[in-house]
Symmetry: C2
Subunit: 163 residues, 2 copies
């Protein structure tokens, strides 16, 4: 149930309830609502560091996998290659990563973090983890595990069908 409250004390209409009975079992809707909350919260967590969800995710993957190729990163992030270019551009222009020549393929780049990138990674990671802890507060370990299990199952069920 979603409750719509009058915004001001003087509003005339009573508290109205919008039934979302049909949507209660619509996983896509529930997932979207929760993701909206997490996305907005993440945006606030990353703003002080000048990062967005996409640039943060790319930075994390590059720090964890130095020498990564852009096509590998695009695959890992589930982002189209053309859309990754501007993300890498942004991180490189800020001096957080570098595009080194790949040792074995002159077409490709080996993405590596700079010391500044690693510093920012550490700080941003801490902030993100703190923010997520708040959003997941009150959940039992079992519920948390089950959520991750369910999210993973969706991915696997999709891949089996050629996603």
């Amino acid at each position: 149930m979603s409750t719509v409250r009058p915004k001001s004390p003087g509003a005339a209409s009573p508290v109205a309830k919008v039934s979302d009975a049909t949507l209660q079992r619509f996983a896509g809707y529930r997932m979207k609502r929760a993701f909206n909350v997490i996305r907005d919260d993440l945006h606030r967590a990353l703003k002080p560091f000048g990062l967005r969800m996409l640039t943060y995710t790319a930075l994390v993957l590059i720090v964890d996998n130095p020498g990564l190729r852009q096509s590998q990163l695009a695959d890992a992030m589930d982002v189209e290659r053309p859309n990754l270019v501007v993300i890498i551009d942004e991180l490189e222009q800020r001096g957080l990563i570098v595009r080194d020549p790949a040792p074995d393929d002159r077409r490709a780049y080996a993405l590596n973090p700079t010391p500044e990138g690693m510093q920012l990674y550490i700080k941003a990671l801490r902030s993100v983890e703190e923010h997520e802890a708040v959003l997941l507060a009150g959940l039992s370990d079992a519920d948390r595990d089950a959520m991750f299990t369910a999210l993973q199952a969706v991915l696997l069920n999709s891949r089996e069908r050629g996603g």
Copy 2:
């Protein structure tokens, strides 16, 4: 773990693995990946009916809550009012809903489904439920319940903090 496979049999590089160890506990990333899958699948489920996720969700809420105001619908869908206008325009132009005058407020509209809208709602709902059943296949009832519990907890934790 995300596995990057060579796309063609003749490719030279071996199977490379990208570690997303740090992202494993990053709920936003896991949620986004799962939501991407659900969004794409939903897109396919709704395409035969000429609906998108947003128009489908709006139609469902209007069928379940005839007489709904646009501001209530925007609130229930977590969409800004200006962005809802084009969604309602689209549904109205297709003859699936109507903007009736609200009986008690000449500024507002009472959104109501047409018979055509209700017909389409029934068919689209069936298709969406079938698609989601496939994506959630293999999950125990307990895991499914825990997932919904966790998604709901995220929403509630956000509202407590003024989201």
